[in-house]
């Protein structure tokens, strides 16, 4: 792959890159640049994580040495979503289950590593820089940066405002070229770009992918939270959740289509497979799609029924989850400790 092909692979399905010019230059200069994504080790991992993990695969194929940061301190700073006493177990669980996801996607992990936040975020120089950035930024500035990611209630904890500073320094202290995250991270990543140079460090390239609408609709809610498909859900549970997903006839913006576009078709096309949709002869018989665009076209044209999509997605997701369930067998104790 030449630099331009690598660039296109990294760009695939992204929503924004700050800046594309810097990324192009980086890929010209380095065959193996360093990139990472931070995952706050909060709740259980659901199938939405396939989107960033597929993207991690893109980075790896583009020659990156890639790190998955298990951000345990971040998890605790975000209003104690992860109680301090549970962090060891949560970190272990995340590492196990994310590894299983990645191997289920068939991604080559030669250049992939996991790192735990508290293993370097408590170093003296890191902490000193944290205090320096806290003294260089107003409370309001930190709040604006955090607002998209940290859930501030009516009476927010102090820790949430420190959160963007750690994410800024992670780029420097892991010696990264690129940080990758969801577009919800945009304000934090812009904060990092603005702040690293104040300490004499270079601003990093930030790569962002869009947020996928949840299966129940595009707004977050606790009922939707419940409907999220856990990586360890049984085939039956998973089928039930997908069947009750919000996917109106001929409407474009929904979680089922998004999952098809950002996960299933990426995975299929990378392995040169088509998506098979099975249906009875009376509904038109089986049909195969080799691109998302054709499938979307037929769906908007009412040639594909929501039930056809849901059945196909349920089957494909189940194929992805089967090896994960298998790998996680015998680790029930760990999961119980992480989520008592």
């Amino acid at each position: 792959m030449d630099a331009e092909e690598r660039l296109n692979l990294v760009k695939r399905n992204t929503q924004e890159i700050i800046t594309e010019g810097e990324l192009r230059q980086l890929l010209k200069e380095k065959n193996h640049p360093k990139g990472y994504i931070g995952l706050a080790t909060t709740g259980r991992v659901h199938i939405g994580y396939f989107i960033p993990m597929i993207k991690v695969g893109d980075f790896l194929r583009a020659g990156f040495k890639f790190t998955i940061l298990l951000a345990d301190i971040h998890a605790h700073l975000d209003d104690q979503k992860a109680p301090f006493e549970l962090l060891d177990h949560r970190v272990k669980y995340y590492k196990e289950v994310i590894s299983a996801m990645i191997s289920s996607l068939g991604i080559d992990t030669k250049n992939l590593e996991f790192k735990r936040g508290s293993d370097f975020e408590l170093d003296k120089n890191y902490t000193l820089d944290m205090y320096r950035l806290a003294a260089l930024n107003t409370f309001d500035r930190a709040k604006r940066a955090a607002a998209g990611v940290v859930r501030f209630g009516e009476n927010p904890k102090l820790s949430g405002f420190i959160y963007p500073i750690l994410q800024t320094l992670d780029e420097q202290y892991m010696d990264m070229d690129v940080q990758y995250g969801g577009i919800d991270q945009r304000k934090i990543l812009a904060f990092a770009r603005e702040n690293l140079p104040k300490l004499g460090y270079k601003a990093r390239v930030e790569v962002m992918t869009p947020m996928m609408p949840g299966l129940q609709g595009s707004k977050m809610s606790s009922s939707e939270e419940k409907s999220k498909i856990d990586l360890l859900d049984s085939a039956e549970t998973l089928k039930g959740k997908i069947n009750s997903a919000n996917c109106p006839i001929a409407v474009e913006d929904n979680g089922v289509l998004a999952f098809l576009k950002y996960v299933i078709f990426v995975y299929k096309s990378d392995s040169s497979q088509a998506l098979e949709i099975k249906r009875a002869e009376k509904f038109g018989g089986n049909i195969a799609y080799d691109s998302y665009e054709k499938l979307e076209h037929d769906f908007l044209d009412k040639k594909l029924h929501p039930m056809d999509l849901k059945n196909a997605v349920a089957e494909e997701v189940n194929k992805l989850l089967e090896p994960i369930r298998h790998k996680m067998k015998g680790k029930e104790e760990l999961i119980k400790k992480a989520f008592p």
Copy 2:
């Protein structure tokens, strides 16, 4: 000295102790408890610092092992009052000049030590506890704690809200029994009492002395800031500043009387000296006081004129500053580096 005498010595001239019962118990249990005061290494040291330093002498005589914490990180957190690059020099300057003050007061320094904040406040466990307290406290709680000490402008820096957390953890990580500070620290010290037990640490005893009105009046202002008497002011400058001090005839609440009460008479009575006030025969001739109360009585009774007081204070302060000026000779370069 028995425990009760030691208690009375520590209590002398304090405004509040949280709690006196705990302090009494501590002095019964330990012959050499550990106490400290934190000095943020911000601006130049003025004669107002004699008040806490006299009190440090009380702690030492009561058997304490006492630490003066040169709080360099605090100084930077307080809206960067001490630019990061100058902290090394400021810390050196504080250590030199505070040592000179203490020796000018004739205090036995066998059980006194200096410690620099950044020498232990950047340790991993300390930092982890800092994040934990940031996650346990709301922003509003931290703000209320800091408000009396940290100068918040219209657009406050994030760092000022972290400040009380460091002061809380200093008590634990220096393994102290008692923290001593001005009554302006009250809300931070109460925050420390409330928060250490949340991490499983014990709450410490907090000892507070009253704030002394400045020589220009009782309110802080930048003009008053200018009128502060620097430890290295010449005899002449010092005399000029004291002469222009606010000290209305027969009025009790002013900086000249406060300095007499909290510094000069403590020092005099501890060394069994009387305060000599020199004046011409036509104004009543020389007079000596062996207690502040008698002097205050005569002043309120108009038997002592403000000029009499000012002259005596200028002479006494000059006697205290003379050895400090002497010790700091040849250190002009350090001072220039600390305050460029």
